[in-house]
Symmetry: D2
Subunit: 259 residues, 4 copies
């Protein structure tokens, strides 16, 4: 299996984690380690310098690359400013671009999102935008130079899984850049399905951080992403309306193999 490559950087893990919702820094660290993630989003809105007892310390200690996000931004201007502050604070030009339409639905604003992406790409950022599941908007984001596109499966924190597999499959099938499913994942089978639909990775936070046992769920998600990726590469059997005996003859002769 090839590793995931985004903007020339190689990742062996295809699971991107968020940090929101964790009950404590220790719980977060254990979950991140159990997930095997190599890339973790952190909110930049009110970032502060941090020592060892901070998320920064945590990520550096574990060799996890940080991906600042622009959570809480409602238009392109805010998002660009936040990204620029994050670039300085975090010493990375990578940004998870979030431009949401309001603080109730938390859905992306496609128009402001594309505008912000265009501006940030022009400013030298490696832009990973959180977008809705519209294939056209995803294509526009790639066209303006985003390094990946990150469509949602369902509203943030809903745990509803992938509401429209048809769209996610269409995005993955035609994308010129890596596709990372972002938002909506509730459980392991959702993450496996995302990969089977052709996604290159999965981003999730609350499905792990708010599970009853975050470490175990982080482990489950790690396995699920690997399982879905392997299944995607293995070439699944076609779906059939009717039954098919597992033996070529008549379902009775499996052991003829033994003869």
């Amino acid at each position: 299996d090839d590793p995931l490559v985004i903007a020339g950087e190689t990742f062996l893990s295809r699971l991107v984690m968020g940090t929101g919702g964790a009950p404590s820094l220790i719980a977060l660290e254990r979950a991140l380690v159990a997930s095997g993630t190599e890339l973790t989003t952190v909110a930049m809105r009110r970032v502060q310098a941090g020592g060892e007892g901070s998320v920064w310390g945590l990520l550096q200690r574990n060799g996890i690359r940080s991906l600042p996000n622009t959570a809480g931004c409602f238009n392109a201007k805010e998002a660009v400013l936040t990204a620029q502050l994050a670039r300085e604070a975090c010493e990375t030009n990578w940004v998870k671009l979030e431009v949401v339409a309001d603080d109730v639905t938390l859905l992306p604003d496609p128009i402001e999102l594309v505008r912000a992406a265009e501006l940030l790409v022009a400013d030298g950022f490696v832009v990973l935008p959180y977008t809705n599941d519209d294939p056209i908007t995803a294509r526009k984001l790639a066209d303006v130079g985003c390094a990946a596109v990150m469509p949602l499966g369902a509203p943030i924190g809903s745990g509803l899984g992938i509401l429209n597999p048809h769209n996610i499959e269409a995005i993955a099938a035609h994308s010129a850049v890596p596709v990372i499913l972002d938002a909506g994942i509730g459980t392991a089978s959702d993450a496996a399905l995302a990969m089977e639909l052709g996604c290159d990775g999965v981003l999730l936070a609350t499905a792990v951080t708010r599970a009853a046992d975050p470490v175990r769920m982080a482990h489950a998600m790690r396995l699920a992403v690997e399982a879905g990726r392997a299944a995607s590469l293995a070439g699944r059997i076609p779906k059939r309306r009717d039954a098919l005996a597992s033996s070529p003859l008549d379902g009775r002769a499996n052991l003829d193999l033994a003869l």
Copy 2:
């Protein structure tokens, strides 16, 4: 995590494999090993003594317990006779009980199945019946003494996954014996979902043996079953109709964790 226990026997792997559909004995062996299975079904209808170059040799060589099945039996009488022959030939009193209604749908005949189960239990067998997804039939099978119940997700070989998750969840929630999803699995997310619905294990054959790359798919299924089991134990987040910011405050303050 507790191991799977069926009739007093302990299994670390919760993936039961079938042998049907494999292109060759070597391909089968590689896939079985990659799956990590400890229990594998083999058709007994026309079983013959086998040497090293047989399925028997394969299973013994790899320390995999064999589970003879009664594939191709259309009524209780045939199934009982087949099971008895298998017991002698395979030196095991375990049997995967299959009594199908016809060779087109390959669906279980619930009446003949319960009858056969009752007779085999009385005859000292450890009976693992392949059944439809009706919760009442599953309960009857446990009531007559079966060691596990194995409801289908979809018709054999269809790869349609789990057509009625509501029924599978109901069976698993109330079963007095282990529940192993049998038939219908097409890809990794199906196997993970089965475990998340509360099943104790998954049985599959063609999803692996007829995949383009059986070894890789076997590995995917192994991971998926582990992922689904872990997710089931980890206590997933509830499904919500609406979005929920990943940060308790307002979605902007994740990094306050760092303060």
Copy 3:
């Protein structure tokens, strides 16, 4: 369109109504009339002679054929006895055969059900059995002489719709007798779907009697059954993965029709 024929009797309406759950006799009557039903089930367990102010009076007044049921019976013996009492009380040899496994799931007991059906057919009844959605059990019921089979879409009163359309479609495609979807309907689209899957009719009660506005919902169900039947006969367009312009040329030329 051909009418529905069951045991030689012709019905112009394909909607069978139950009477359970109605808030009052007057509300029930209005809903039954709005539904256009010609066949209505009534519980026989504790039937009493009734005058004009009874369900009997109601049905006779509106020319609706009564279909006594065996609700509350848990085995074949009880069901047969109940049916025989009903035959005398209601002066009809038609019976909706219900044999449920317990009073929590209210799911049919397939073994007792087939046994009861066999006995009642031998005793001269016109038997319409309420069954699960297993195609094999449905076939057995037709084979022992039932006049129709009535598989469930979902548990009684759940309003979950049709949990396994694949099974309902398989039953309808191969049944030698009319198939009437019974139980699970929650709203109009569920009823339309049942007909589109090939059912010959729909039976429902609480979806109407417990709706906020039973009369309006009865009207909705009447239209939905007609809509689904018409759609089924009209030959729907095939499902396509991708878009297809509505104009044969390129989506721009619809008005060329006008030239």
Copy 4:
């Protein structure tokens, strides 16, 4: 039931028909009449004056209001120009605004769509835009002054129904203007579901014009829209995980109503 009101105009039928895909003008006329539609879209790209033997003649003869569309337009500029030509040719300032991203997916381009809507509203048009199922884009279209929003259920002509009921329900729940489901409908139950999700109307073309029997399917769609609307107003029963006896007591006492 209230009638549908768009931009001050009242419609008794909530089914909007398209004209694409019809095998002949006569077949189209019969289907339109059977559908009961009062509003019908026609492509304006290459409109020509028409006499009695034209779509125009057809619509006028049957008292059906025409709704010119901008099919085949790929950006705001083209769409505005097409709409202006249509306004002159058809003597109506109503327009079904279509701005698709390409001629393969036929999916709306959300950015160009909102831009075109804004321009057309400013130019005095009554704009009914065909959009994707993103709630934010739908809201923007209402905000810029569209008279209705018309989200897709699935790609045009796919017959896949409503791929993301969650989004359609969210759009309908919060829209300040009427919501008409446009594209994706394959059969009657899809149309009923659209209405149950809260839509104010349904627009479809090929589901009728390319059905094996267009007139019968038009009739089915008419009934389905009415059924779904009535069901929506009637207040459906809640979905329940478990069974609920139809009688308040124990499932046996329905006839106590008769006492």
